[in-house]
């Protein structure tokens, strides 16, 4: 570490990166959902939504995450999808 590094604002620590990566990996492990299946789900979602709406395929993000359950059951897995819309097709 050089002297100047002291003044650099530290970005995310590697332990936090590890924790984040693990939480994502374990969420899909626990749901029994492999990356291959996720890829298939993603392609199916693209083909269904593209029938009606023009979406930004490159910006599409889909993953299984952990989130706080509504009934106080602790962390529960959810399927999260972020699908940027380019334009809604008119009639």
């Amino acid at each position: 570490m050089s002297f100047l590094d002291i003044f650099k604002k530290k970005t995310v620590s590697s332990s936090n990166i590890a924790k984040g990566r693990l939480q994502l990996a374990l969420a899909s492990d626990r749901a029994g959902c492999s990356p291959e299946i996720m890829e298939k789900i993603k392609n199916d979602i693209i083909s269904v939504i593209s029938k009606y709406i023009e979406i930004d395929v490159a910006g599409l993000d889909i993953k299984i995450q952990q989130t706080e359950g509504e009934n106080g059951e602790g962390l529960v897995p959810v399927l999260y999808a972020n699908i940027p819309v380019k334009e809604i097709r008119r009639g």
Binding site: K10, S13, S14, S15, N16, A18, K19, R21, L22, Q23, A25, L26, D29, R30, G74, L75
Partner: protein, 261 residues
């Protein structure tokens, strides 16, 4: 009636055998009658870690196959006469034993001992199924690394599916300096991820290597790891023991503090 405990991890090399040796020796120090079973058939190691490798006559497979009585195969420890080892077979493989046979063996041993502690092989195949079959409690050992924690999570899931009554976590080889600078997950991070009860935090300690070289578990001595293992033993024996304050500044490591977890 004694308790049967399995020490398991999924990933290899995280410290199952070291943990088994130290927890067993520590419980013997607390005047419990203890037997350790090495269930890693074909890759036997607990005997060398305990320093008992020269005394083996019969092994686990001999007992299961009825080539000898249990008592003939048990090796008495060098230092504690209430501590015994049932070594594994080196020239056989995991299929030499079935989960049902292991369960019967555990149930026989629990009549004579306060604690039956099994060192489980790495992996999730038959060796793992054999080791967990007769256990009342599982100690899952992991290091704070992504690969070890991921495997530990898989193990926790399998233990749950096999209706293990109690599953507790040991975070091993924690580097306090690395945690402090954000370059290693803390024990709390690991607990958050795995969502099971913590029973011990063992700091990375070069004394472990030295004690293994000598074949004498260090549990109960002044080293940090020695204290941490002794605390695990006291918790297993039913005592409430606060966790070592590993986050104190260098030089104050041995200090205990009164906060739980």
């Amino acid at each position: 009636m004694g308790e049967v405990i399995v020490v398991t991890s999924g990933k290899g090399g995280v410290g199952k055998t070291t943990t088994t040796a130290n927890v067993g020796t520590g419980l013997a120090k607390l005047d419990k009658k203890v037997v350790l079973i090495d269930t890693d058939i074909g890759l036997r190691n607990l005997d060398v870690v305990m320093g008992l490798e020269n005394r083996i006559v019969y092994n686990l497979v001999d007992v299961i196959e009825g080539n000898c009585r249990i008592k003939q195969a048990l090796i008495k420890d060098k230092r504690y006469n209430n501590l015994y080892l049932l070594p594994s077979a080196q020239t056989r493989d995991k299929t030499a034993v079935t989960p049902d046979e292991m369960k019967q063996l555990c149930d026989q041993l629990r009549d004579d001992f306060d604690f039956v502690i099994m060192d489980c092989p790495a992996g999730i195949e038959q060796g793992f199924r054999n080791a967990i079959a007769g256990a009342d409690r599982a100690l899952v050992v992991t290091t704070p690394e992504v690969s070890a924690v991921r495997d530990a999570d898989r193990i926790v899931g399998l233990l749950e599916a096999n209706e293990m009554k109690k599953t507790q976590l040991i975070v091993n080889r924690l580097r306090v300096d690395m945690v402090a600078r954000g370059d290693m997950m803390s024990s709390q991070d690991v607990v958050d991820i795995l969502a099971i009860d913590l029973i011990g935090i063992v700091p990375d300690d070069e004394n472990i290597v030295i004690s293994t070289n000598n074949g004498e578990p260090l549990v109960g001595n002044d080293s940090l790891a020695g204290q941490a293992y002794m605390n695990i033993c006291r918790r297993l024996a039913g005592e409430e023991v606060p966790f070592l304050d590993l986050n104190a500044k260098k030089g104050f490591f041995g200090r205990l503090f009164g906060k739980k977890k």
